[in-house]
């Protein structure tokens, strides 16, 4: 047990600064101490608290107050000044701006938009990306998704602009003021790990179903990375340059505008990039609350079990994501490198060409994508899916069908795990979480994790939360097993790595909803398909982080182990994996967060538990059920993230060294 507690030694690096011998001894035996204390606490708990679920006396029933809040909002939405003079204007502003962007896109026509995208990509990132974006927009049209794509694009433009503005301002505040930084950082850290699904209900409650709610939910989801990266960029500004600027007599504002912000531009662009990706990730989920566009097409297609049509709407989202990701990433790399005079000419050419194309199509009266140029991919895809389900579902000789696997997985893994967790006395669950968080992270993360879990008990959803937790644990175990194996394999074989990369890219950007129906067809209804979808979604990140970690292992260490005569297996187990430990921990952390996000959506395919409650709350407008489930999901996410979060202590150690 104690063998796994190596972080204690890294942590001791920070503590040695204090120089106290006692402290040093304490930190060295930290792991053992924690385990000993836990054992004592277990005995004490068993004697004094007994077994059983979260005691009813410690929980609060919020359904009454929540019901009256929701009634109040519905009754006063048309008349109360808060809505008339503030929220109503927010909502109108969103509608007006989305509409403005949408009309501009429509006025440009399909050729104009495609030309603009291609030329921007050419100017920013070169010919290759220009061709990619040309192809991407053409495919959107060919799939018959032009208008929905434009609607999604309009919504994205507004949402991303708002996220960048809001995130930038918050980041600026956190970057310049230490106090703001201390306040904001935990909030932003937390927001980043929350499943998007949890944001929907509160926004819907205030704004009602529709575009404003969708945009605001997207902004809440996409702004944190921008804020974090802005703050990071400003705080990491080179001290020498800042000193020089001060000594040249620059005022505070000059220093900010001419030194700090330009120095942070890489982080700023990375922030924009991250915001865009998060916003696109939200595009489909937001369709549940009326975002329209591509997400709505995916959602509607899934309602009639039409995987092909869902895919036809899902592909443009993936393509948009890929183009926007590559273009902003290239912009980040290129910044400052291009000579100024030629670039201005290039931009002028680009603008003129776009205008010419847009005008040409307008004169030719061909603003909408030509009907004849579409290709129906839905049918062949559906046939393939039908074939798969017909032949794999059951009765496959020797290995059994997917339905049998799902049944076995549910009976032998999910059920015992769930009943085991629910059988554990509530204080033992809290204790386990605390101990795990202490072993991996710091006392701070441990306290947060335990408090978050306790909050779930107080909210009165202990049992469903443990049900969700059991699904998360099972999915994470499978993801790690497969992901680490694949990651190690692709790090050791370049060919496999190259073959895997595009597959991983697609799986990661594909909207989670698209997975849901094929997994039902393969695994039936229940918790097994929810787990399967979660595994598929989380796998790419885990594979990628593992592969990077293993690849980044110091070549000198590899070389010396080889010269000592280690076999390939020994090298992997005794050098590469131990040295890649930080990356592996990060993979666990990411895996847990991503899995939770999808397990929650699994409520739509019979996953039950918290996810179902959240869906139920949205569908029935039942605030009491939905908000409590949402809050519990938030707490669960917080707890899982903190338990698996090793970063903070490593930061400390890094600074001490």
């Amino acid at each position: 047990m104690t063998a796994t507690v190596t972080p204690a030694t890294t942590g001791s690096a920070a503590a040695t600064d204090t120089g106290s011998g006692v402290l040093r001894a304490l930190t060295r035996h930290r792991g053992r101490l924690i385990v000993a204390c836990a054992a004592v606490a277990l005995v004490l708990g068993a004697v004094f608290l007994g077994a059983g679920n979260w005691p009813a006396s410690l929980s609060v029933d919020l359904s009454g107050p929540l019901k009256s809040t929701s009634d109040w909002i519905i009754d006063n939405r048309d008349g109360h000044p808060l809505f008339l003079y503030f929220l109503g204007h927010v909502s109108n502003a969103v509608v007006v701006s989305v509409r403005a962007v949408y009309l501009v896109l429509l006025a440009l026509g399909w050729a104009g938009v495609t030309a603009a995208a291609t030329l921007v990509a050419w100017r920013v990132a070169g010919v290759r990306l220009a061709l990619t974006s040309l192809a991407a927009f053409a495919v959107c049209g060919v799939l018959g998704m032009w208008v929905p794509t434009m609607q999604t694009l309009a919504l994205m433009v507004v949402a991303v602009a708002a996220s960048v503005l809001l995130g930038g301002l918050l980041g600026l505040a956190a970057g310049l003021s230490d106090r703001m930084h201390r306040v904001l950082r935990p909030v932003l850290d937390t927001m980043q790990v929350l499943p998007a699904f949890a944001y929907l209900l509160p926004v819907v409650l205030v704004f009602g179903i529709g575009v404003p709610a969708a945009v605001l939910a997207t902004v809440i989801y996409a702004a944190p990375p921008m804020a974090r990266l802005t703050a990071l960029g400003l705080r990491d500004a080179d001290a020498g340059v800042m000193e020089a600027a001060t000594s040249l007599g620059a005022t505070g504002r000059q220093r900010l505008l001419t030194a700090r912000l330009p120095l942070a531009r890489k982080e700023l662009l990375l922030g924009v990039n991250q915001s865009i990706m998060m916003a696109l990730g939200m595009a489909v989920i937001a369709s549940v609350i009326g975002a329209g566009g591509l997400g709505d097409r995916v959602y509607q297609a899934l309602a009639s079990v039409d995987v092909g049509a869902a895919l036809a709407a899902g592909v443009p989202i993936v393509l948009l994501a890929i183009v926007l990701d590559r273009v902003t990433a290239a912009a980040g790399e290129r910044i400052g490198a291009a000579p100024a005079h030629r670039s201005r000419l290039g931009w002028a050419i680009a603008a003129a060409a776009t205008a010419a194309v847009a005008l040409g199509t307008r004169l030719a009266d061909a603003l909408t994508w030509p009907d004849g140029w579409t290709l129906d991919i839905a049918e062949p895809v559906n046939r393939a899916v039908d074939w798969m389900t017909a032949h794999l579902y059951s009765g496959v000789p020797v290995v059994g069908g997917t339905a049998d696997w799902a049944g076995h997985f549910t009976t032998w893994v999910l059920n015992p795990l769930r009943s085991g967790l629910q059988w554990l006395p509530w204080w033992a669950v809290l204790l386990t979480i605390g101990v795990l968080a202490l072993l991996i992270g710091t006392w701070r993360t441990a306290v947060t994790a335990v408090l978050a879990m306790a909050a779930i008990g107080v909210l009165g959803v202990w049992d469903p939360a443990l049900d969700t937790l059991s699904q998360v644990l099972a999915a994470v175990a499978v993801t790690l097993l497969v992901g680490v194996a694949l990651g190690v394999a692709s790090a050791r074989s370049n060919r496999l790595g190259r073959a895997l990369r595009p597959v991983l890219d697609v799986f990661q950007t594909m909207p989670q909803f698209v997975y849901l129906i094929p997994v039902v067809a393969l695994f039936g209804v229940g918790r097994a398909p929810a787990v399967a979808a979660a595994v598929v979604y989380a796998l790419p990140a885990v594979v990628r982080i593992t592969a990077q970690g293993v690849r980044a292992v110091n070549p000198a260490a590899m070389e010396s182990s080889r010269s000592l005569g280690a076999t390939g297996r020994q090298q992997l187990l005794q050098v590469q994996l131990p040295l890649a430990r930080p990356a592996l921990l990060l993979a666990v952390n990411q895996g847990v967060v991503l899995v939770l996000a999808v397990v929650v959506i699994g409520g739509l395919v019979g996953g039950g538990a918290l996810g179902y409650d959240a869906v139920f709350g949205l569908a029935q407008g039942d605030l009491a059920t939905g908000l409590v489930a949402g809050a519990a999901i938030v707490c669960l996410g917080l707890m899982l993230d903190r338990v698996t979060q090793p970063t903070q202590r490593r930061d400390l150690a890094g600074k001490g060294a």
Binding site: I74, L84, L87, N92, N415, L604, G606, A619
Partner: protein, 321 residues
């Protein structure tokens, strides 16, 4: 000093925002979709619920509004209860198929007056418990709820644990199943598929293997044409027997499905509002269109176009004179 400047900036920003937006009160009952009315056309926004029958209503209405009356139609997929809210705020103009929400009717029609009744759709809806017909033929007595416990063993799945599985669908649908299982002392576990799509997929998988199953389902629904199912008789429905959600021990009622319009749209909607009020067809007609959409995988527009071509006599009467 820096702080005062920040405070001043914040104040200035707040004033600008107020100046930009705060000239007057915003009307929260006139919240239209940003995609509506593009290119200066008259637009109607219809709410589509997730089930295919509702898609069929909307597809045909959309086709006729666009091709016969010259409107542009936007559709938004919204669940049943939030759709009422959206209708009241003017985000959608009409709901074409509602399965009965007395609480919302009282709040929005009687109290606030933001929603108006649009008459009957002509289709009668019914919710119930169903077993596949192949199973009912083998075991005729399964169609009475009193005998259900006898078959609990055969209806077990991994999800339902030691009990029989009663498959339920989307959380947005009206259901008393948990209470029913409880109050009728049935040895069953309600398993929520979470969405209708998931439920249909599961039913078809069961049917392909001729496995028995028990499911919450409703009529009219196209799936009956693909997987014949027989209803299980529950204790008779009597007026008011489902008043207390905890104590329900009776079958679901037969509900004449209703249309609802936004009040403002009803008054000023012109031809579109008049047309939607007259829109009235039969269960079979709705099923025809639903089948084309869900089973032949035609797009709703194509399905509607086909139906319109064959049924001119019916829809002619809906057009405003």
């Amino acid at each position: 000093m820096a702080r005062t400047r920040i405070a001043a900036l914040a104040a200035a920003a707040a004033i600008t925002v107020t100046a930009l937006t705060g000239c007057g009160a915003a009307d929260m009952t006139r919240q239209s979709s940003p995609y509506a009315d593009a290119k200066g056309s008259r637009t109607v926004t219809l709410s589509v619920q997730s089930w295919v029958g509702a898609q069929a209503n909307v597809a045909v209405a959309q086709y006729l509004l666009e091709h016969e009356l010259g409107y542009r139609v936007d559709t938004v997929q919204i669940d049943e209860v939030p759709a009422w809210d959206a209708l009241s705020q003017g985000r959608v103009d009409a709901i074409l198929e509602d399965w009965g929400h007395p609480e919302q009717e009282k709040r929005y029609i009687d109290d606030k007056g933001t929603i108006a009744r649009g008459g009957e759709l002509g289709v009668t809806g019914h919710i119930g418990w169903f077993v596949p017909t192949y199973f009912a033929e083998e075991h005729p007595d399964v169609t009475d709820w009193k005998n259900l416990n006898k078959y609990a063993d055969q209806l077990r799945t991994a999800e339902s644990g030691g009990k029989g599985q009663l498959l339920d669908g989307s959380p947005s649908y009206v259901t008393n199943d948990k209470a029913l299982v409880n109050n009728l002392d049935l040895d069953y576990q309600v398993v929520f598929a979470g969405s209708e799509a998931a439920q249909i997929t599961q039913i078809r998988q069961f049917a392909k293997e001729k496995k028995p199953f028990l499911t919450y389902w409703y009529k009219p629904q196209w799936l009956f044409e693909k997987v014949p199912m027989t209803e299980v008789k529950l204790p008779d429905y009597k007026e008011g027997c489902d008043a207390d959600a905890e104590k329900v021990a009776c079958a679901y009622p037969h509900t004449p499905l209703q249309k609802f319009l936004n009040s403002r749209f009803e008054a000023d909607g012109g031809d579109a509002a008049a047309f939607l009020k007259k829109f009235r067809w039969t269960t079979d007609m709705q099923n025809d269109v639903s089948l084309m959409i869900a089973d032949q995988k035609l797009s709703p527009q194509e399905a509607a176009a086909r139906w319109v071509k064959q049924n001119e006599a019916t829809w002619r009467t809906w057009l405003p004179s």
